[in-house]
């Protein structure tokens, strides 16, 4: 009998996952290069109760991130780079592993290396010659970096077969996994210097998604109250 109460509880958990995802999206509405989360749902097994199929609720599935491009914001900062098209910058994390990011707000560290805001170096590394004024750095659309007229390296853009399989590791960084496939050079994407890609979170649709999830959550919790009432009524049979 209490199948329904568990189905409703599973529904609440699914809606909670949606609420969490939307909350995270809304919190990142101003994070450069952020992509909103893509969450799927599926129904659970069906079993016969008095000959009628009854389902066991719903469960969320993490499908990675959406792919829609964020709008490009001109900043005029020579070390701000936006990727136009698919792909990621490749950086090295402090623990030595390689990560991917679309956040192109770079800066120069104490050694003259081009690093992300959180200090990860580009892969392959690009180091400005001593005494270079960062404002004289030019980055071509194919990633070629020039400082003071001399070529000093090339920023590579990589992509994976299944971007949905990337593992978010925080700081706007992603790690390649077995389900995403290994990073390889991206095709057809270009860089734009002096611009950053803004978050692709659309506040209006995030808000409607949130309301939808909240209502779904409420409905499911009403269902639990009703199921509880049913159990209570059954208990009242014996006095």
């Amino acid at each position: 009998m209490p199948e329904g109460i568990y189905a409703a509880a599973a529904g609440m958990a699914a809606q909670q996952a949606q609420l969490d995802a939307v909350s995270n999206d809304i919190a990142n509405v101003n994070t450069a290069g952020y992509k909103s989360e893509r969450l799927g749902f599926h129904d659970l097994v069906y079993q016969a109760e008095m000959g009628a199929p009854v389902g066991a609720g719903a469960a969320p599935i993490d499908l990675g991130r959406t792919t829609a491009a964020g709008s490009l914001n001109d900043t005029g900062n020579p070390l701000d780079v936006a990727i136009v098209g698919a792909g990621y910058f490749q950086v090295k994390r402090a623990d030595g592993t390689t990560a991917l990011t679309r956040n192109g707000q770079f800066q120069v560290d104490g050694n003259g290396s081009i690093v992300t805001q959180t200090g990860e170096r580009l892969v392959p590394p690009i180091t400005l010659p001593k005494g270079t004024d960062p404002s004289t750095v030019t980055i071509a659309s194919d990633g070629q970096v020039t400082a003071g007229g001399a070529a000093i390296g090339k920023i590579s853009i990589v992509d994976v077969t299944n971007p949905g399989g990337l593992l978010s590791v925080g700081n706007n960084l992603f790690a390649a996994t077995a389900s995403s496939g290994a990073p390889a050079a991206a095709r057809g994407s270009t860089l734009q210097q002096g611009a950053i890609e803004s978050s692709n979170v659309d506040l209006a649709s995030a808000m409607t998604d949130m309301i939808e999830a909240q209502r779904g959550f409420q409905f499911a919790s009403r269902m639990i109250a009703t199921q509880s009432q049913l159990l209570d009524d059954a208990n009242q049979l014996v006095r």
Partner: protein
């Protein structure tokens, strides 16, 4: 009371799937058990009929079209019309209307639960390298980078029944006329929350009435026993 419990469980499942793409509502119809004709055992005079309560006659899945929601994702497709996408499971072929697709590490097109999506020849579709620039035409043809990569199979399904994981099984037929594929959109669950709430309340009250009836019968029996005992 028991049939109302089953109905409540189905309603709970419907509400739990309020956000499941391509979910279809279950509805159960009730029918009475065959009635018994009571007659006096000594004189054979008929007394009247006695009902034995209700049973669930059948559960129908309401296959009406759910609202289509724009997502802008290249791997989201919504089916407009009565068809189904064809997917391969460990035990054979199954059908789904959940168009929230994904790509595996080798570029194979799959459902959100990881099952390969098939083309009309029953072969998996590979879209390696085009996960973000896929174009899916209304007839299901998939193009990427100017090349045709495959075509989604669309099948009709008679007597669909649910398997879980957004899958259906049934007798498959040729693509139904007028079913189109819309890229960048998802078919939402077709549950009507207001209707489910009303059904839930109605069913709860019916359940409670049955409970009262059981009580009355209990009391009648109790009084019968008491008075029968008092006579001796």
């Amino acid at each position: 009371m028991l049939t109302e419990l089953v109905r409540q469980d189905q309603l709970a499942n419907d509400l739990a799937n309020a956000s499941t793409p391509g979910y279809k509502t279950d509805r159960s119809a009730q029918s009475t058990f065959g009635e018994l004709l009571l007659s006096n055992s000594a004189t054979a005079q008929p007394i009247g009929s006695l009902g034995l309560g209700v049973q669930i006659a059948e559960t129908k899945t309401d296959m009406s079209q759910g609202p289509v929601k724009q997502t802008g994702e290249p791997l989201d497709v919504a089916l407009q019309g009565p068809g189904f996408l064809v997917v391969k499971t460990a035990t054979g072929t199954a059908y789904t209307r959940d168009g929230q697709l994904a790509v595996d590490a080798n570029g194979g097109l799959m459902t959100s639960t990881g099952l390969p999506v098939l083309d009309a020849q029953g072969a998996p579709i590979n879209v390696a390298g085009h996960a973000s620039d896929l174009q899916i035409a209304p007839d299901g043809t998939i193009r990427g980078g100017g090349k045709t990569l495959g075509k989604l199979a669309i099948a009709s399904l008679t007597t669909p029944s649910k398997l879980g994981d957004n899958l259906f099984t049934g007798t498959a037929g040729a693509a139904p006329a007028g079913t189109t594929v819309q890229q960048g959109a998802l078919e939402s669950s077709d549950i009507d929350a207001a209707r489910v709430m009303v059904d839930m309340i109605t069913s709860l009250r019916a359940y409670e009435s049955s409970q009262r009836v059981i009580h009355s019968i209990d009391e009648t029996l109790s009084r019968g026993i008491d008075s029968a005992g008092g006579m001796s």
